[in-house]
């Protein structure tokens, strides 16, 4: 399959690969996909007290497009508020990376990963508020 230059660039030089401690303060973790489907994305965000995402990490099991999609969203979410991050749409990801139709599901997965990470962060925040 012929990939766009952007996919190849993200695949060969992935941004922000790695992990934060799951229990670290201010961290939200989203894991989406399934091994049986050929792709699993783990996206982590680090959020400051004003609700702005200051850093992000990912690990992805999947094809080149899946790796590129998750690498791209780690760049895009940085500096955004949680609400802004939630507005990132798969179509923007697919367009930026020029994904072919058969790879659109990779961009959908990346969008889902952002949502899952934000939800996890909010869930943990409200849980810690209740215990405080």
């Amino acid at each position: 399959m012929a990939y766009s230059e952007k996919v190849i660039d993200h695949y060969e030089n992935p941004r922000n690969v790695g992990a934060f401690g799951r229990d670290e303060a201010g961290v939200g973790t989203g894991m989406v996909g399934a091994p049986a489907c050929g792709d699993v994305m783990k996206l982590q965000i680090k959020v400051d007290e004003s609700g702005v995402i200051t850093d992000a990490r990912f690990k992805t099991y999947g094809c080149g497009s899946a790796i590129a999609s998750s690498s791209l969203v780690t760049e895009w979410v940085k500096g955004k508020t949680l609400d802004q991050a939630m507005t990132i749409r798969n179509t923007e990801i697919a367009e930026e990376l020029a994904l072919p139709p058969v790879k659109i599901h990779c961009s959908i997965l990346a969008e889902d990963a952002i949502k899952a990470a934000v939800e996890d962060y909010r869930h943990r925040l409200s849980a810690s508020d209740q215990t405080a």
Binding site: Y3, P35, A36, G38, T60, Y61, G62, G64, I108
Partner: protein
Amino acid sequence: MKQPIYFDYSATTPVDPRVVDAMLPFLREDFGNPASRSHAYGWRAEEAVETARGDVAALVGADSREIVWTSGATESINLAIKGAAQFNRERGRHLVSLRTEHKATLDTLRELERVGFEVTYLDVQEDGLLDLDRLRDSLRPDTTVVSVMHVNNEIGVIQDITAIGNLCRERGIVFHVDAAQSTGKVAIDLAKLPVDLMSFSAHKTYGPKGMGALFVRRKPRVRIEAQIHGGGHERGFRSGTLPTHQIVGMGEAFRLARLEMAVENDRIRMLRDRLWSGLSTMDEVFLNGHLEHRVPHNLNVSFAFVEGESLIMAIKEIAVSSGSACTSASLEPSYVLRALGRSDELAHSSIRFSLGRFTTEADVDFTVQLLRDKVGRLREMSPLWEMFQDGIDLNTVQWAAH
């Protein structure tokens, strides 16, 4: 860019330069139609066609009168299965084959199902081999044709066609073998094998693409219905002007295979074993298919926690194929690996290395090092590898399937 090292001989082989040399005169001065009986151009072409027919027959222990030229293994398989099923349709309409067959067989059988035949697709064992008891249980009084591939294209396992053929013979069932992947790799002696029809391809054995043959046994005589009509070439089995240069290429390729296969297979086995001993020192690497009952040319390996397509992207320096969904038009991982009971995840993580005539020891050593580096890099990026390292059993995780 430098050409990648070729490890995809099961997809196709380069035409051996000696084969090219043998073919060229028949594209130039010896261009005659072998059916032309009235002049020297035709006689010369006919002589070349018959020499080639003898060379193809000799590799597989057949009589040259049992060889029918076709456009390739796909056409041979269509002619064999449809031809035998249709000829015997008053006797019965039940056909038997394996789940791990090539699409040429599976799609032919699907077409026959569409027109009223019934097909049993047998599961194979975890090692890819057919359990004979399972076959025996599937055979019925109205079973007319059994079709089994000799060597599997993805995992290289060799089916016991002698035992399968004997079961068919006892019951008067026509037995077709798809031998596209086995010529030059496994000794075939049709004088002894209980096989009625056998399909061959030229381009898997260093011959040209677009050329194949079908063995149709004369004693006991096997009857099939022709699928292509017009001119009555090939004793009515397959009409159409014979492509002399292609036929000469297949003949020369099969002649070379007969002369060289013993020595060549020893060398390739040594290289394949060197590749496996290099790769298998890595953690969580699994061989797909039986280790011994397979051709020396094939190594199908799953690298757990790494997805096949991203691995193929990472190893651009070599040309291989993957059982991963993402390398094919569909989104399903290899149906062959799934039929072995491999999990979808391991099917997605598989790479087929197929070695051949021009593979060298340096190629193998380079590949081992490349795979170690790239699998390591991708695993560092893999959340599944991280979970595995943390001791999490991935089968207990609740995945959000999509």
